[in-house]
Symmetry: C2
Amino acid sequence: MSNYRATIQYDGSRYQGWQSQKSTENTVQGKLEAVLAAMTGYPVDVIGSGRTDAGVHAQGQTANFHLREAWEEDAVRDYLNRYLPADIAVTEIKEVDGRFHSRYHARSKTYLYRIHIGNIPEVFARKYVYHYSTPLDVERMRLAASFLTGTHDFRSFCSNKRGKKSTVRTIREISIEETKQELRIYYTGDGFLQNMVRILTGTLIEVGDGRREPEEMEQILAAEDRGQAGYTAPACGLTLLSVEYGE
Amino acid sequence: MSNYRATIQYDGSRYQGWQSQKSTENTVQGKLEAVLAAMTGYPVDVIGSGRTDAGVHAQGQTANFHLREAWEEDAVRDYLNRYLPADIAVTEIKEVDGRFHSRYHARSKTYLYRIHIGNIPEVFARKYVYHYSTPLDVERMRLAASFLTGTHDFRSFCSNKRGKKSTVRTIREISIEETKQELRIYYTGDGFLQNMVRILTGTLIEVGDGRREPEEMEQILAAEDRGQAGYTAPACGLTLLSVEYGE
């Protein structure tokens, strides 16, 4: 058995996400598994570093899978790229230690949320941004972000119903870049709960447009109640940039 | 009557081009005219700086049109952007001298042709590049380009059947940028014949992959025969970057 780590890009627009409980038909993982099964002649389980929601994009999603034979790394990459749809690409296949697990061993992830704020529509990146027309005060958003950085119980920022699993996570950094046309919010942390980046973004937007105060972030975290945080920003603006391992 | 100059971006993928003889239904010009007619209540003719083929994109196409009343520049721009489809955007509306004509007064145009040469598929720009998998020798292509630069009769590089109009044009510059994943060919000239940039690109590709010699360019020009030049590279890789006026 050989273990391979794949780095994957996708335009998530037409997928039900990385993985879906209901079917693998229209998921990125399902597409990868179908091509690998055709390549090997047996079913291959692809283990993602984590799920991305329906409509979310990736520049550097990571996954691993085991093959019974030793395959050449570039041959696997090229086979996948030949048969995957044009909106999914494998940028690298690397043979890794048999114990490597893309989810358990992920140290951190970096997401980018793109908010288009300009009054000229974005033609070429229109599927990768979320347009917001009310002016946003970036300094207020940065102050709010500073309350969210660090180790907290992020239950209020999770769409999952109350479960047994820990909702404590560490956000190492939230940085906001501003151009004339766009706000780009970068999130780096050890892991993110379901919809967490989108709820964080929706909450920061509500601070930016004046509906909330930056200081409220402390109360929202303390409440451990999804109802206290802001709305879930749309999937289209979100891209998983990279998954970092301790190498 | 007020005369307005519009700068327009579009993803040409789903259009029959800027303008079509057959119908205005699915052309960029037709979309602009429909929104302007709705805005003003009377038919408005939009005059483009030139046609772009079906499937060709634009970052900075230019057009002008006359309105019976004086409208605020930004109000026209915002109205157009509100009602145009998401793959067309107006980046600027400027009131100009009544005699300004976007085609007659254009001094030069700059086109970009993007050839994807990498072995990793391009997910996010997949609709804006042409993938070519045979290795291309860029130095040979640059040498061939040097024969094409300058003032020549480009009849061999024009898909139009022999007409009465002059096919003499001046190409000021052809420059080729090379990255690991892409060749980007920039063409600047005083004007381009029908399909000319795509035929130039197809011919340069045939030089790059070894099917032709750079020196053949002189014979192709002299032949004044479309059959002597290379193939027409696909529309998807081509973008009209800008139209320059003598301001």
